[in-house]
Symmetry: C2
Subunit: 395 residues, 2 copies
Amino acid sequence: MPGHYFDCNATTPVCEAASEAWVRASLKHWQNPSGLYRGAGMTRRLLEELRGELAGMLEVEEEEVVFTSGATEANNAVMEYASRSGGEGVFAVISAIEHPSVREAAEKWFGKEGVRELAVDQQGKVCLNALEEVLVEGAVGLVSVMAANNETGVIQPWREVGEICRKRGVPYHCDAAQWVGKASLAGLGECDFISGSAHKFGGPKGVGFLRVGGAARENFTSLVGGPQEGGMRAGTEDYPGVLAMMVALREKQGDMTAERLEGCLLERRAFEKRVGEDLPEVKIIAADAERLWNTVMLILPLSGPSNLKWLIRLDRLGFEVSTGSACSAGKGNPSHVMEAMGLDFDQMNRVLRISGGWQTEGKHWNALVDALLEVWEELKSGKRMEKREEITPSL
Amino acid sequence: MPGHYFDCNATTPVCEAASEAWVRASLKHWQNPSGLYRGAGMTRRLLEELRGELAGMLEVEEEEVVFTSGATEANNAVMEYASRSGGEGVFAVISAIEHPSVREAAEKWFGKEGVRELAVDQQGKVCLNALEEVLVEGAVGLVSVMAANNETGVIQPWREVGEICRKRGVPYHCDAAQWVGKASLAGLGECDFISGSAHKFGGPKGVGFLRVGGAARENFTSLVGGPQEGGMRAGTEDYPGVLAMMVALREKQGDMTAERLEGCLLERRAFEKRVGEDLPEVKIIAADAERLWNTVMLILPLSGPSNLKWLIRLDRLGFEVSTGSACSAGKGNPSHVMEAMGLDFDQMNRVLRISGGWQTEGKHWNALVDALLEVWEELKSGKRMEKREEITPSL
């Protein structure tokens, strides 16, 4: 049985073309783009070409694209900007299922009292009614609702959120870290702020981008101390990293035909069907919601042990999965996403996130069901459980 | 005549070993260190080993080392932390020649009124008397004095600054971006905060580090939104980038024997001697100060054109130099470092920064003098100046 990596929402391997591009650029165009000699000017031109390319993909202005160290930096910077420009008493509206880098940044900059949370329905989807209500109250400095959730894969109504915000004249930030490279970029450019991370779609770690729309550009800064990125983000530009990101993005977005997306979705659905048939004790979270084609969040049998024991056994069989988002996994805290969806403590300790990638095929999904069955049989029989009770994760 | 890159204070090429390490790590250890499967755990262990290695080189505790996107991020974060923890009315003390990422971050977080500047002497060296005086006044939240200046190469009395700060119980931040990889790390661990950037010493762009000493760790955060880096810097850790940085650092610090450093210094001095003999109209800034072995800041003849014309002509001859720091070069502003050293406008428009690297040999320094002579002859004769008046830099 072939093992497979099923944790693409945590990170993805750097694709070959991106890695090669990084090496090539590090060898030829490593000069500081702020230099005034030709070699440096060439690096700047190439960097600006990539900015133009990304702007084109997002359908935004070139000057609105800021290269950052990743979505975490971008999300932090958006919250700082919104709190500084919003004025006294203004609050931030975020969904109850935002990534910690949005949630914690919002609380840092607006204060706990200054953050209003939008509830999600049982399918983990943000309630638009709740948004309309909170906007009527007024004094909203920013709305932040992600494109797709990192734990459940549930696609959020970001287009509708954007439309509502535009009508009310409230800036809208969309954390698209899980969206970019997995779904079409069409329409994303309507969001005032858009964050993305290269390592979620086959690019290197430590590189990402932020769209800063319209007038915000004038006062926006992530890092201060240099004129780079139109004054919005100081620090020597990482041309090799940005090139590698863009090469990965081209590859992913280029492959993304409607047929291919449909095929990927069908394979995931076949996996879910088999799980339902062969492992009836296992539940699929947000089963009926529109979700990213790569993500399935399971609730393991309540009669069995917690997710960690499953994860360890699956790992031994060659399948790498997650007990939630990588960020909360390290903390051992129950997920706030699961909490927002109304799961109880027992359920939260039994969630397992499966997130495939473009390299994932039907045979991998099938092999994963077989592995889940094998682990469940083993856990039920208890024959090796006593002996292994003490096994701790590799962390 | 062989050309040569003389802008190492702006950035350096990624060394071969670092590039290879990056590729290897991207291929084998790209997993998210927060994952709970063995592959992720291995990446975490390797990352923590590198943290331990850097801590050992700096002689600080492992938990005090934070990997960042570079010194700019580190400097921004230190100023934010100091302003938040310092309390009402506290001010920051920075030298008049700090990098913009220290200066602007200090002004952002402490306000313009909250920043006191330490004057430098005519040799561009921070006055310790000025520091003693300002500390007596009290209410200092942080002192920030760089290890060596990026424009002049002048080595700052950071050991003495650190000692004075310790006696007064004031936290000391040392921006060591130009120091690390060029000089011994001994004693640096005495500074409470130390910033560095990999791309200044043969590592990749987009990676750096910060030492956060002692109790500061408890409340320090650069980016929020995840438990990474001991809670001090959220965002998926860039193991390949950090490995490449450490491979470059090992190489540079390993090569750094007293003999080698002395040899490099002698070669630069020979260059300066020839400049003095062959180009008597050219002045060397801080000629008598203790400077980094790689850096020379020239004032070109006041009777000739501005530095940009020299830079363009030197570039044509294969020599890449700078008109100041890369950060201020892009802005076309006169350098605040030169201003602090008392240069007038005409002089500031005639500075030329030469910064070699470990690959720079005597023959390169010699060839550079020849090139300077050739350019000066050409400029003096004026024969091609009319025709080329319109040439703009490659920026």
